[in-house]
């Protein structure tokens, strides 16, 4: 029997560190001996940059624009440690339908059975965060990814985007779509940030997979066009990513999340807003946050 390829989709609000996190997970899994493909599903097409020395690669849709049929091999490029890098790409900003572009790119790969041919262990989709239309939900529909992880900071807008994603997962969960593995809490430095994320996952019936602190090592690595795993393999931050990758590797059971209704989410945020104000004015101390 052919081995089961683990397909994972990683979502998160734009600019939250989704591609950075995804690339480091890919790199860590690859270093651990797995065969990995990273599939960027964002019209900006910069998901795999740090796996390829900062270089952009021709995208599936750019290649399709040039000619009618594309062989998957023509748009797969090897990156750090033999990781297969693919960028779906998209139309020029302001025209066409990027969502349909993602569908086209993902289906092109599915039809050509390329994952089996390459004998992959992991395919990781790095997807634009707000599930704005059906196209961006393709990786979580039936038969593509099984597990979804969402990258979120403790900022309200990031949490809002994560909650929207949960709604998407909830919708597709009845028809064999992907389920939620958990939240990757990013840029968690202030103590209250951890509390906010912990409270959010509790409210929405999920879990935090890893807390990733903001670190200058990441910035330094990215400026060299590399992942932290490649540029600073022994750093403390690299250990965090390795730990995260290891948890994802053993992760088996994903769940249906319980997204909050918009009004509930606002009420929840307002509660934290009041608390943070009280914290600033010294009315409460950090340790008390757990009781909130």
């Amino acid at each position: 029997m052919a081995k089961k390829i683990k397909q994972i989709a990683i979502y998160g609000k734009g600019g939250i560190g989704k591609s950075t996190t995804t690339s480091n997970i890919s790199a860590a899994l690859s270093v651990a001996g797995y065969k990995v493909m990273q599939f960027g599903c964002d019209p900006k097409s910069d998901s795999t940059n740090t796996l390829r020395g900062g270089n952009y690669i021709p995208t599936v849709l750019d290649t399709l624009r040039e000619k009618n049929s594309v062989k998957a091999h023509e748009v797969i490029f090897e990156g750090f440690n033999g990781i297969y890098c693919v960028e779906a790409g998209g139309p020029a900003p302001g025209v066409g339908c990027a969502g349909r572009g993602i569908i086209t790119a993902v289906q092109l790969f599915k039809q050509q059975n390329i994952f089996e041919e390459l004998d992959l262990d992991y395919v990781i989709y790095d997807v634009l965060g707000d599930v704005v239309c059906g196209g961006f939900a393709v990786p979580i529909r039936e038969g593509i990814a099984e597990h979804v992880f969402t990258v979120s900071s403790a900022d309200f807008m990031a949490v809002y985007a994560a909650n929207n994603l949960f709604k998407g997962i909830h919708k597709y969960s009845n028809s064999g779509g992907a389920l939620l593995g958990g939240v990757i809490a990013n840029s968690i430095n202030a103590p209250y940030a951890k509390d906010i994320i912990d409270d959010f996952v509790k409210q929405t019936n999920t879990q935090v997979v890893e807390y990733v602190p903001r670190s200058v090592t990441v910035t330094q690595s990215e400026l060299q066009g590399k992942t932290t795993i490649e540029a600073a393999p022994d750093s403390k931050q690299a250990q965090v990513y390795k730990s995260l990758a290891a948890k994802i590797a053993v992760h088996e059971q994903s769940k249906v999340p319980a997204p909050l209704e918009v009004s509930d989410l606002r009420a929840w945020a307002a509660k934290w807003g009041d608390y943070l104000l009280a914290l600033e004015t010294g009315e409460v101390r950090t340790e008390a946050a757990g009781n909130l």
Binding site: L61, L64, G90, P91, V95, C97
Partner: protein
């Protein structure tokens, strides 16, 4: 709940391609998926005309146009159309795909307009409306983007009128109807912009739309959006006759209403009406003996399965001039809610003594089922579409095909409007009846 609509008699918004085909030397350019245009042609487009049917340039938009946007492809097709089709007016019409993706067709059209090309565009994505409504959108687009560029108005010509009547091709007899309407309006002293078909002066005539003294709308609700737009834009008043005038009584009523509105020379109007009525009734007089003896041979009841303008027009004629009694009348043009009360009132007062029951339905299957279930105690005639052929044969009714799809008739200059249209109706009904004689 899922609802299937069987045999609708109109098309989606892109059906307005036929509005353009009906303009002399007008060409529609479709920015739509493959198949949209030919489906419309096969439903309502008997004959290709100048550049209709298979001649219509189309982007055949597919997945590539969805993903990357279809503006480049559209430019390509427009450039090609300019090269190979010699026309006076080009009208870009968008289909669902382009409207959903959001191609900026206005900008693309604007580039050609800036070069002085006679080209306009209208968004006719199928999800937006049916072709009764998009007909208005296309006519208004031509007025705003083409006519207005050449004529800003303010130069009213006494006695000049624009006529908006049934929707070309959606009404299979549009050209014959328009010719008769133009003839009778000229007869009472008006100069007529008929705008579509053989009797029209093409785009040069369209350019004089703002110069009209008033507009005439001969339709129940379709076209109100045009005459109201013209009233707003050029302050042109309009007179509204809410159904197709068929036969002596209604045509005279129509002419008198127009003459009253336009304060025309009543002597001239009366003289024309008298001459026309004499001619009209002379034919009936000549065959009066035959008609009288034959009075039990013609159908006793009639059903109409037509759009509102035709349904009311025929009902009045059949009842008041031929003495056939109305059964239930079906209005199939997806009449907007706000016009339905008025239509019910018109049917309620179909004559001084009679009223007719009216139903609004777009589902041919439901309508036919209802008629099948009614007791057919005496001979009926159905005025419907080619799709009523089996029904008519099953219930042993006569059928006069008036509505699209006509399928079993070839239409050249036949029309049912006016004095001549009334005579034509009598001929056609008796023709069907006599044909069943052994």
């Amino acid at each position: 709940m899922l609802k299937f609509i069987e045999q609708p008699r109109y098309s989606c918004a892109i059906g307005a391609q036929q509005t353009v085909v009906a303009i002399k030397r007008g060409v529609p350019i479709l920015h739509a998926g493959p198949g949209c245009s030919s489906k419309v042609s096969s439903l309502i487009g008997q004959g290709e005309g100048y550049a209709g049917g298979n001649t219509i340039p189309c982007t055949n938009a597919g997945e590539a146009e969805v993903v990357y946007g279809g503006e480049g492809r559209l430019r390509n097709v427009v450039d090609g159309a300019f090269k190979v089709i010699d026309a006076d007016l080009y009208v870009i019409l968008t289909g669902c795909t382009s409207d959903i993706v959001g191609d900026d067709v206005g900008r693309v059209t604007g580039e050609y307009q800036a070069q002085g090309r006679p080209i306009v565009y209208a968004e006719t994505g199928g999800f937006k409306s049916n072709n009764y409504v998009s007909h208005e959108a296309v006519v208004n687009a031509i007025i705003d983007q083409y006519v207005d560029v050449h004529n800003k108005g303010g130069n009213i010509q006494k006695g000049l009128v624009n006529v908006f009547a049934t929707v070309p091709y959606q009404d299979p007899y549009w050209n014959g109807n328009l010719e008769e309407i133009k003839r009778i309006l000229e007869g009472i002293g008006l100069k007529v912009n008929i705008l579509f078909g053989n009797g029209s002066g093409g785009v040069e005539e369209w350019k004089t739309i703002p110069d009209a003294e008033f507009n005439i709308l001969i339709n129940t609700w379709t076209g109100l959006g045009i005459v109201k737009h013209l009233q707003e834009k050029y302050r042109t008043p309009y007179v509204h006759f809410p159904y197709l005038p068929i036969g002596g009584i209604e045509t005279t009523r129509f002419l008198k209403q127009v003459a009253g509105f336009g304060k025309l020379d009543s002597k001239k109007v009366e003289a024309f009406i008298q001459k026309e009525e004499e001619k009209y009734y002379s034919f009936i007089e000549r065959t009066a003996d035959f008609m009288l003896e034959f009075r039990y041979g013609i159908p006793r009841r009639f059903y109409t399965i037509l759009d509102a303008a035709y349904s009311i027009g025929f009902s009045k004629f059949l009842l008041n001039e031929l003495g056939i009694i109305p059964a239930k009348q079906y209005v199939i043009d997806d009449t907007p809610e706000e016009f339905r009360e008025e239509i019910k009132k018109l049917f309620a007062g179909i004559s001084d003594l009679r009223s007719a029951e009216v139903a609004f339905s777009i589902d041919g299957g439901v309508i036919q089922q209802e008629i099948r279930e009614e007791p057919q105690k005496n001979r009926a005639i159905i005025l419907g579409s080619g799709w009523e052929r089996d029904l008519a044969s099953d219930i042993k009714a006569d059928l006069l095909i008036i509505s699209a799809p006509v399928t079993y008739r070839l239409v050249l200059n036949c029309g049912y409007a006016g004095y001549n249209g009334g005579l034509r109706t009598i001929e056609d009904i008796y023709d069907r009846v006599l044909n069943t004689y052994r």
